[in-house]
Symmetry: C2
Amino acid sequence: MTDTSLDFRVTREDLTRFMQAALVAAGANQASADAVSRALVTASRMGTDSHGLRLLPHYLKALNGGRINGAPNMVFHQRLAATGFLDADDGLGHLAGFTAIEHAMAMASEVGMGAVAVGNSSHFGAAGCYALAAAERGYLGMAFCNSDPFVLLHDGAKPFHGTNPIAFAAPVEGGAPYLLDMATSSIPWNRVQQFGAIGRELPDQVAADAAGKVSRVPGEIEALLPLGGSSFGFKGAGLAGMVEILSSVLSGMQHGFKLLPMGGPDMATPRGVGHFFLAMKPDAFVEEGTFARGLAEYLADLRAQPATPDARVMAPGDREWRCQAQRDADGIPLDSANQSAYAEIAKQYQLAPLSRLD
Amino acid sequence: MTDTSLDFRVTREDLTRFMQAALVAAGANQASADAVSRALVTASRMGTDSHGLRLLPHYLKALNGGRINGAPNMVFHQRLAATGFLDADDGLGHLAGFTAIEHAMAMASEVGMGAVAVGNSSHFGAAGCYALAAAERGYLGMAFCNSDPFVLLHDGAKPFHGTNPIAFAAPVEGGAPYLLDMATSSIPWNRVQQFGAIGRELPDQVAADAAGKVSRVPGEIEALLPLGGSSFGFKGAGLAGMVEILSSVLSGMQHGFKLLPMGGPDMATPRGVGHFFLAMKPDAFVEEGTFARGLAEYLADLRAQPATPDARVMAPGDREWRCQAQRDADGIPLDSANQSAYAEIAKQYQLAPLSRLD
């Protein structure tokens, strides 16, 4: 959730500087530090606070614990003209992600599309960053990732899938890309906590207690429902399974149910996260220019649709681009928890602290 | 919904014979009749009754009206090594679908993956049939299609997207494929009608009245909500948009909002439906055999998960394969509406009627 009332705000340049210094101090090489700061700052600018600057302390802990290799030797194995495997050497998932989508785009420029399965990786932040990286260069991009279990199967009583996200981005001529980045769960875990913090009941059909029974009481929640809730959760669960198959089965990794928890306590053992990236050349199917014209027309028609009272119809990404413009102008806010965490990091690594904007 | 209490049942061979004869009588060539009967019989065997034998009268009407070309000259334009466009020449979408996924598999066998955008097509039945056709030959398959507007945007007051399905299938060694075939709406349209017929309230957050206001009264429903309902419908709407971009924008067709209604009244004007198909070789990323082993392990772990009381955890497709085994043994049921429709067709085209199983 965007909270622009927070009065501790920083520039993205200063945030990038700080993140990179901290990551390098914790043992990351420059390429890894560049990739992590690029992904986290992208997410924070767009208002995806759950996957933005909040994650820096986690990555530092994983580097310090030895779970993540700060100076990996990532090797790309091209298998066929449109497919390959990136061994991420237990490095930061962000470097794996940006590296893999580059290889996918290189293949797409030759044969129309390209896909890269990534293995021996780690948490990569927001999936949307890598789809977006493709769209910014004129390609359709897709990104998928598995994660440790938080989400029930349809009719299941115990978490099995992770929030297994799907990201899809398409380039828009003269405008910001179409950008969908969604978990295949009904609700994000941190939204459940937010409802709890303000004492509100959850929407129906989005989360369950320890027995797998649907509950609207934040304090009882032990698992998330798949997208579609009790009646149609087979859709979310099936999408999560598709993401799992693409991310871990294609790459030869363990599937998400067997992943060590992201949050620890074990911060020493590599997790072996899998990702999957796909890039397509928009003009690889019909005449050049057709795609750009068609997408512009589709988006214009979409944005012209009538909305319900007090609402507004938006294309995926519209909310994020608006937030980005605002935060680029006013700065990126840090809530009090993040202010403390970043002050602590500055002390620990003897870094110049973030400069608070006036 | 599977209704095995129906006592009018036919063999799939007889159903195929009847469908093909009717389609040929209405002007379809043998290749088109083969493709339609293959798709409809596949769906009916699996219990996907909304996309099975029920659709035959519709296709006959569209052939008779001239909207659909029964003897199309479908031309495949290979653009790059992994991508191409199939011009379906206003023929039956089923022939376009099976033709396109064949081309996608041929490219995948060479370069690891292949995708085909299809234009100038028509309704193709169940998207799952084409993903399944890939999985039956050892490929991962995906299928997407746009359709005329029934589904609201997130916060939208008027239908904009079609039910825009996503199908994904993966081959399972020695077993039936993983098969996900889902609309990106919250609920299928015919399910709303079924609730109405038995006087039941709809689940919350799945459908809306003419003003776009969520309603649980089947008789008031004028639009479906995107998957995710009022709170998280941006997910379903974003997925529908992804399907739209892949199906119509990549293929240079009009997007779904501008499609003529499938149900008429105009049965003379071609609709220009778009589809998108993708095939991937499972062993195009890591060592041969890794994918098969990993998928078997994932599915075994999934099926061993505990379920909520009176429920059972299933993988996508499990319900369908069970129904298929039962209907292959006992016959495919026709409800009274379909019995009348098929008797009418037999009369109209002077065909031997379906043989009712004892």
